[in-house]
Amino acid sequence: MSMDGSVEQGTSAQEQPSPSVAVQVRGLVKSFGAGDTTVTVLKGIDLDVHFGELLLLVGESGGGKTTLLSAIAGILDIDAGELEVLGASLTNMTAGTRTSFRGQRMGFVFQQFNLLPALTAAENVAIPLLIQGLSRTEAVSRGRLMLERMGLGDRTEFLPRNLSGGQQQRVAVARALVNDPQLLVCDEPTAALDGPNGQKIMELIRDVGRAPNRCVIVVTHDSRVFHFGDRMAELTDGRIVGIHPIHAEATA
């Protein structure tokens, strides 16, 4: 999977994260099941993700990409290892603190969009702000502004069922970015979209989502969008087998 033949390895477990490191994963282990049916999905992952970077997590199905993403996002408990995200140790946080941390500092883009069907586009975008306690008027107003930035200014009052798949995913990206998170987590954002729409969504994630004070992690198996990433971490059988810088011209 090497784009240029070079392989960059993760930093050692003892090393302190530099200020530019947004996510530091060390010796991460995660298993599912119990007894004879235990399946170890992540087998000692080491990984650094930097601010301003768009990292792609790629690899075969069942390789552990989504499990790793869930662990980094703090929505899945891990069995062993250390997880430092945006300067805070997720492993030492209580479930409640982690929930609050996610709400304030992370944004999510899901494969199936997960928009609430009864809410308009603007109201869907406003959800993270409503969770933070903003008034409905202010949250929806900021939701509309975000949608305008996404080129959906004329669709703010549409229900999800009246939007195309690409438009729905743009609404989902707007929702993920509305509270200006420092970590944007995207799970197969192009999987439910056709080629051109998938390209547009990745453009949006790269152009709007990537920022100097933010890092973006995207799980994908869609090779047509690999060139949007800065680096690519390849997972096979629960292990990172390579981390490669990506040169856009090589994959475009």
């Binding site: 989504t66 993403l69 869930s70 996002a73 929505i75 899945l76 409640g96 929930t99 609050s100 996610r102 709400g103 304030q104 992370m106 999510f108 899901f110 494969q111 199936q112 997960n114 609430l116 069907p117 009864a118 809410l119 109201e123 959800i127 993270p128 409503l130 969770i131 933070q132 409905r136 929702r175 799970d187």
Partner: protein
């Protein structure tokens, strides 16, 4: 997030309507059956409410007001001699057959009132003057008697009919509460009543009495019982005694109780299952909210808001429908229907119980929900 919760609830219109229908049906069934049950109980003691006096003196072994056990005629004077009794008058109550001029026979309840005072007379007279009952052969009918005995074209003021081969002349029509048995009531004076009925050793059915102002009724009834050996009850006690007798000796309590319990169980099952399905089908959405930072407490609050919103809406609609049914069916006294605030409160508590239980099942599911579900 309250707004989001309500939009989620109303947005899934089919499920919302099913949930609402289940709860509405349960509330309507419980209120309708409960009100009819209570209406029947009120009818069962209508003789007491129609007579409307504070104290009833009876045979000590009496079970209920319509099961007359005659007492000695001297009982009136014995009750009058009890300290604290302001007045005491006799009352006759018995069943006779009336023969109309067209040859029809009708069973009636003959009520004989104390002539000098007319204590125990109905409060409202629809036609004629109640005082004319003092005229020779005069009787007063209640409105149900007119209805049961053939209607206004057959019987009304001035109509003559026979009671035990003795002449009776209708001088007034009084308004009363319908009785459980719906037997027509014919009022006359006590003296004339005992002339209408075949001679018996004891003819006095009850002694009606009142306590001196300021004395508690229960104190006076206790004194009457202790000094005369007779049964003595306040009107309220005698009413409850009658209701209790009906519940013990008929299947009414079990029949209505079963329907009410079934209504509660069906309502709970429909509401609980639908609400749980509603949560399960929205599990990914709740998972997404959890991933985006919504705490379990926030989600629980959303679920409870949804449950109570649909519950209270169902309560309102159910009460409205039951009341409408009662208004239409009980109009003119056709069906016993008494909707009390106690019943409405009880149903509200039961409904909130249903909603809380349904919500708790869903909340338990959500509390265990791993937000990672959104990535699967």
């Amino acid at each position: 997030m309250n707004y989001v919760a309500l939009r989620m609830l109303f947005g899934d219109r089919a499920k919302y309507l099913m949930l609402l229908c289940g709860l509405t049906f349960a509330v309507m069934l419980i209120v309708q059956q409960g009100s009819i049950f209570w209406g029947l109980m009120m009818w069962s003691q209508s003789s007491i409410s129609n007579i409307n006096v504070p104290i009833w003196v009876t045979d000590p072994g009496i079970g209920q007001v319509d099961e007359v056990k005659p007492i000695a005629d001297t009982a009136v004077d014995r009750v009058r001699s009890v300290p604290g009794v302001e007045w005491a008058v006799p009352l006759y109550k018995g069943v006779l057959r009336a023969r109309l001029s067209n040859g029809d026979y009708h069973q009636i309840t003959l009520t004989g009132l104390d002539a000098p005072t007319l204590i125990g007379r109905p409060a409202e007279v629809l036609e004629g003057r109640f005082e004319d009952i003092l005229e020779p052969d005069a009787v007063v009918l209640d409105q149900w008697a007119v209805e049961r005995m053939g209607g206004p074209s057959v019987i009304g003021i001035g109509t003559l009919f026979e009671l035990n081969d003795k002449l009776a002349r209708v001088v007034a029509i009084a308004k009363t509460q319908k009785s459980f048995t719906n037997i027509p009531v014919v009022y006359t004076t006590y003296e004339r009543a005992i002339r209408y009925v075949p001679r018996e050793r004891r003819t006095l059915s009850y002694v009606l009495a009142k306590a001196i102002d300021g004395l508690p009724v229960t104190e006076v009834t206790t004194r009457i019982h202790e000094q005369t050996g007779l049964g003595a009850f306040s009107a309220e006690e005698f009413g409850w005694k009658t209701i209790s007798w009906v519940l013990k000796n008929t299947g009414i309590g079990i029949n209505f109780g079963t329907t009410i319990v079934l209504g509660f169980i069906v309502g709970m099952a429909i509401a609980g299952q639908t609400f749980y399905l509603f949560t399960v089908e929205n599990l990914k959405q709740f998972g997404a909210l959890k991933a985006m930072g919504a705490s379990t407490f926030t989600l629980a609050r959303m679920i409870l808001l949804q449950a109570f919103t649909v519950g209270l809406t169902g309560y309102g609609v159910g009460i409205g429908l039951a009341t409408g049914f009662g208004f239409l069916s009980a109009k003119g006294g056709g069906l016993p229907f008494v909707e009390t605030w106690q019943l409405l409160l009880l149903v509200l508590v039961a409904l909130l119980g249903i909603c809380t239980l349904s919500a708790l099942i869903s909340i338990t599911k959500l509390a265990r929900l791993e937000p990672a579900i959104v990535f699967r």
